[in-house]
């Protein structure tokens, strides 16, 4: 019998299943779903969406972090050029940590990426993007 893979659903193995797929911010999902569902409603006003679709759309509207359409692309482009991996960029954009310490706690692989990049400016750059996300989203955690 072959060896069963442990932790096949671990975040560190994300690229084994989804390495070729684009990872989306919640804001991206909100834009996509709003547009798609609106078009479908125009074609068929009485169309009933499956429960999964309704729940995903409601969630995306509630937790969307970017207010303008250009911000997600800017954040992805800036951070990917500086060596951050797709899942790190998406989690930064979705969670909008208040500071670098929080970012490193919520996304542990960020520290590894920063160390590997051997760039002293990477943590500062990440923090700058994080701060712009925080300003955009307006969400802060209750302490």
């Amino acid at each position: 019998m072959g060896e069963r893979k442990q932790n096949a659903d671990d975040i560190n193995d994300i690229y084994e299943s989804f390495g070729q797929s684009q990872m989306l911010f919640v804001s991206d999902v909100e834009n996509i779903l709003s547009t798609t569902l609106e078009d479908r409603k125009k074609e068929e006003p009485n169309y009933e969406f499956p429960n999964v679709v309704e729940k995903a759309h409601t969630y995306a509207k509630r937790f969307s972090t970017f207010t303008s359409a250009s911000e997600p692309s800017y954040v992805k482009d800036t951070l990917s050029k500086n060596g951050l991996r797709p899942h790190e960029i998406v989690m930064l954009g979705n969670l909008c940590p208040d500071n670098l310490d929080e970012a490193l706690h919520l996304i542990p692989t960020l520290k590894v990426t920063a160390d590997d990049a051997d760039s002293p400016s990477l943590p500062l750059l990440t923090l700058a993007v994080v701060q712009s996300c925080r300003h955009t989203s307006g969400k802060t955690r209750k302490k």
Binding site: D9, D10, M23, L33, V52, K142
Partner: protein, 176 residues
């Protein structure tokens, strides 16, 4: 986490649908077969965004139905162990609380809630209240949870989460 995937599926249409509206029927059939489904590999298929290639129909011998090997793009949601995710509390009891991140349901056991939170059942309904920080977990509030495990059933994915680590916990109160 949400993904934009490109997937393939064979869709079968009966002969009565052959005609000028075939492509639209094919699109609707794909959507009805795929949207809302769940698998262990790709998670929940939330929405078909576009048809990449509808393929050329092949008539099945005997039935007269046509099969189309379709390629399509879709939004999928797949949770991962170790992922931190924001969610909305849906149900609270003394064993812990349930929360939803879209279609994904997470249970946070009272063992994985910080010790300063106490379960109370008052006029406003059940809640976990932190005496030290005057923060409470109530229905419809937003919490930041770390996923510690997932289980995939035939039609859904269920998760176990924790808020017993730094930078996790209540984000905001219920929506007004």
């Amino acid at each position: 986490m949400f993904f934009l995937l490109e997937m393939e599926r064979i869709v079968t249409l009966p002969p009565q649908t052959f005609g000028s509206g075939l492509r639209e029927t094919l699109h609707k059939q794909l959507i009805s077969e795929v949207e809302g489904t769940c698998s262990g590999k790709h998670g929940y298929i939330v929405c078909v965004t576009r048809i990449v290639d509808a393929g050329k129909g092949r008539i099945q011998m005997g039935t007269g139905k046509a099969t189309f090997h379709m390629k399509y793009q879709c939004v999928a949601f797949r949770p991962f162990k170790g992922e931190v995710i924001d969610c909305v509390v849906t149900q609270i009891n003394k064993m812990g609380f349930f929360a939803d991140a879209g279609p994904f349901a997470i249970f946070v056991s009272s063992n994985l809630i910080p010790g300063d939170y106490e379960f109370t059942s008052g006029d406003q309904g059940p809640s976990f209240v932190s005496g030290e920080q005057d923060v409470s977990i109530v229905k419809d509030c937003e919490v930041r949870v770390k996923i510690v495990g997932t289980r995939v059933d035939a039609t859904e994915i269920f998760g176990i989460g924790t808020i017993k680590e730094d930078y996790l916990g209540v984000l905001a109160g219920p929506e007004t």
